[in-house]
């Protein structure tokens, strides 16, 4: 019995962190012992959109909840996004809306590319040479010159397009109707 408990405990303490690495939610690190992880360094812009009847109304979620929850929304914690959606959709239904539609646009920094020059600084190109000034930092380019380093990261893309591809991720599909998954 005691051995079974020990095996179960160690199994759980192996499986829970492991599930983070094999799972698809990079932003929920609760049981994975990821102290000081790169994920903690990125923030997200989380915007709820009420798309009922084809309209696109921004929902001010951060003002509806305590700052601690607003902070978790800016860290793309899916449980909190879903919890907020559950409440919002319930309130809309109670107000007589038969088929509410709620979407969420979550744009986060990419924790895997925090070290790329383009992802660390603002898109400033002071000398207008087509290469953002951040690429002047030789250390981040491992010996490559600014232009070659930029090319390594972005190929022929414009800085803005490259930044959107390289430095940002959208962990929640924009077309997901959060009220639909909440339908009971």
């Amino acid at each position: 019995m005691r051995s079974a408990f020990i095996v179960a405990w160690i199994g759980l303490q192996t499986a829970l962190p492991l599930s983070y690495y094999v799972g698809d939610d990079a932003f929920d690190e609760r049981f994975a012992w990821r102290m000081f992880s790169p994920v903690r360094m990125v923030t997200c812009q989380t915007r709820f959109i009420d798309a009922t009847d084809g309209l696109q109304t921004t929902v001010r979620a951060a003002a509806d909840v305590h700052e601690v929850w607003a902070s978790l929304l800016t860290r793309a914690r899916w449980d909190v996004i879903a919890g907020y959606a559950r409440r919002y959709c319930g309130q809309r239904r109670a107000a007589g809306v038969v088929r509410p539609v709620l979407r969420v646009d979550v744009v986060c920094g990419n924790p895997d590319t925090l070290n790329r020059p383009l992802c660390r600084s603002a898109l400033v190109d002071g000398d207008a040479d087509g290469v953002p000034d951040a690429y002047r930092e030789a250390a981040a380019c491992a010996g490559l010159g600014p232009r070659a380093c930029y090319h390594r990261d972005c190929g022929d893309e414009s800085p803005a397009a490259c930044r959107a591809r390289l430095c940002q991720i959208r962990p929640v599909p924009l077309d997901l109707d959060l009220c639909e998954s909440d339908d009971g």
Binding site: W9, T14, R34, S37, P38, M41, V65, H66, L72, G83
Partner: protein, 539 residues
Amino acid sequence: MADAWRRYWFGHEVLRTRLALWRLVFFGLLAVDFWFVLLPHAPRFGAADFNVSQVPFLDPYLPLPSPGIVGPLYLLGGLLALSVALGVRPRRCLALLAPIYVGVYAWSQSDSYQHHYLICLLLILALFVPAQAWTLPAPGEPPAIRSWALRLVYVQIGLMYAWTGVTKHTPVWLDGTTLDQIVTCEPREHLRWLSGVTGWSAEATLSAASVAVMVGEYLAGLIYLVRPLWVLGMGLIPLFHLGVEWLGLDIELFSYYMIGTNLILLAPDALIERTARLVARWLSPAVRWHRALVEQRPLAEAPARLVAVVAAFSAGAIAFSVPYVGAGTAGALVGGATLFVLWPGNAEARGALRFRAMGVLVAALALGATAHGSGTAYTYYRQWAGFQRRQGDEAEAARLYALANQAAGDAPARHLTLARLEARRGGPAAAVALVEEDLRRQQAHLDSTLASPTTAEAWLARGKTARALADALGFAAELWPAVGRAAEVALLREHRAAALRLAREAFLENARLDPACGAGRMEAARLGGAAGAEGAGEP
């Protein structure tokens, strides 16, 4: 194989003295955590009727948490933790403490600190440690005890360190990028100093520090699993946590928990015994007193029950007096828990009852003293009031600000914020006394505590107080004409200009003393326009 398994888990011996020391440090810190760190967060629970638990599929069935229940549970948790630290029936206290800590943690994701999760796991494992392991051995009793649960405590801590090492296995950690983003100005200066000493570039120093952290975490994991390595860990792992504190990373009390835990759980037996003897010598009057209490003849059943009831009533009354929402609930919970912990079911329990009752009452007095004598109640109500104000509930915000001000003693508080609210809600007359009180407190604070600052930090505090004084004088200048005191306005403006000048001087002095990280330069720049405008009219 089976033998090795049995030896590893069921032959694991730990000195009872070691566990008693760990009990004192770990649970003492837990009490501090409950009363000073967690309690001010109680008003977050259920705020704006929103909550998501750690197990969201249970949310439809769970009640919404509220400050009126979470606050009392934190108060009781602290009392039980301190009782364990003092050696008052640890196993019985743990039977209440573990469900409280784990339950509140599981109730809401608003608490996301990973070390709170670690404490949950350690408390659950502590429930399986034999009762006698928590107490010092009496003469003739074996000094060590075997416990698979204690071995699992070691393994759990080892797993935590090892998984933390796995986290660092990414290019963005290893090249120093993440560490660079974590550290703020002062730690960055520490690292700059380090790179000056080593002669490495700043990037190389950050990268080396990052690699060292990863290697150290893997090593710490291994050390906890292999007993012969303990002594190495006792030297190395606390250094890692001291480094984290040196870098100024905000992880509440985690470093202190781990420094204490590492030093005690990994120390060689001989060192533990020597330390225990030393502590016993320092505390010899207390030890004698404890022995005298424990070795007295057991009370008869009826008087013993009476002692338990009186102690429970007293502890409950102390908890009932705390200045927090849910004080009645706290009183009932503390009273009930005290009765449960002290209830004398047998002769052994009746024998130790005097000591146990004293221990719980000491913990209850500590609860009362921290609730009334620390700044916790002020923080608790101030933050709650701020949230209500931002939510637009001005009546509730005003009520909570009034409670915060009451809890602040004579220190500057939120009288001006409350005055602005009251002026909007009840007209200028309602705000006058509050503004005057704010002016009095800010001026007194400037003239006493901050009269002769010597450090950069103290100059910054002086600047901020002078600016707060200027804000209050500015609001008074707006308010006074509406209450028939227009004649005083010119003098108020003069005083405001002087306060702004004082603030500016203090901020610049902060910047001079701490040119790298002092916030004074930025604060002075923010002040620049206002001070200049006021100063323009000066002779």
